[in-house]
Symmetry: C2
Subunit: 164 residues, 2 copies
């Protein structure tokens, strides 16, 4: 990297666990997992990933930024859907290889790309030890129509691009 690292590299286990230096531990892909909860309800909304730049931008702007593993690019949450996340609090875990983000949702209040409030809209149910395991939908009401929102955003983006 030509740019200086924004965060120092982790040093000792004791410093990671008991120190006041924020030295996040990124994995082999340069990512750290982020648990996102609603500051209002406490509900877990999603699990996402940040690279160093996404983490720095989130801290500097107060708006959640992530690294999209599927699209291979930095992503400001809500840039297409309008469902952004304002950071209320950020916390680091003991070994600084996970982050907890408490956020306020904007827009339709849907954190999930399927249009739902939370990505965790299904419960795991078991028929008993060694038995079948299925998913049961609840918390599954859509706050927006993903087809319409992402098609529209995609179209707008293409228009913008072709006019540049």
């Amino acid at each position: 990297m030509s740019k200086a690292a924004r965060f120092p590299a982790p040093t000792t286990k004791s410093e990671s666990e008991e120190g006041t230096t924020f030295a996040p531990h990124f994995d082999a892909d340069g990512l750290v997992p982020v648990v996102v909860t609603s500051a209002k309800t406490g509900e877990v909304l999603m699990l996402a990933y940040m690279n160093e730049e996404a983490l720095a931008r989130t801290i500097d702007t107060g708006e959640a930024h992530y690294w999209s593993r599927s699209r291979g690019r930095l992503w400001r949450k809500g840039e297409q859907s309008g469902n952004a996340q304002r950071v209320v609090e950020m916390r680091a875990d003991c070994d600084q290889d996970a982050i907890w983000l408490r956020v306020e949702m904007t827009g339709a209040g849907a954190a999930c790309h399927t249009g739902r409030r939370t990505c965790f809209y299904r419960t795991i149910l078991s028929a008993g030890p060694g038995g079948g395991v299925t998913l049961s939908f609840d918390e599954a009401e859509r706050q927006f129509d993903p087809e319409a929102v992402y098609r529209h955003a995609g179209a707008a983006k293409r228009t913008l691009k072709s006019s540049e």
Copy 2:
């Protein structure tokens, strides 16, 4: 693996997101990240990882089992410290590559190996855009003394082993 897989392999994106088949998506290391919250307070306690066996045992026994990446082995939460986790609810996220576990803690009620209630005992504080980032301790009171608990458990285990 000589054993048949306990869970079916993921198929299509649409089936992962809108189906009732639980077909968890394990990463290249065979792991899935698990967000663990307190069923009582809603607080995020830890982020851990499960392999297929840990996931199956958790579902079958109602006691949280994880894969320890540092020790390279399956681990029943609380097996040494007595701070076990009874599963109240398990949820899967949209693309079934993350799990949310709502648990009741037993023992001293400390999810963290440092003896604290939660692994997220430090807040990330920023001095402003581009500025210094530090950690501030709160929720950091220890519920048990990790030195005593793990030394004792280690010693007991060694004794047991040598007497076998």
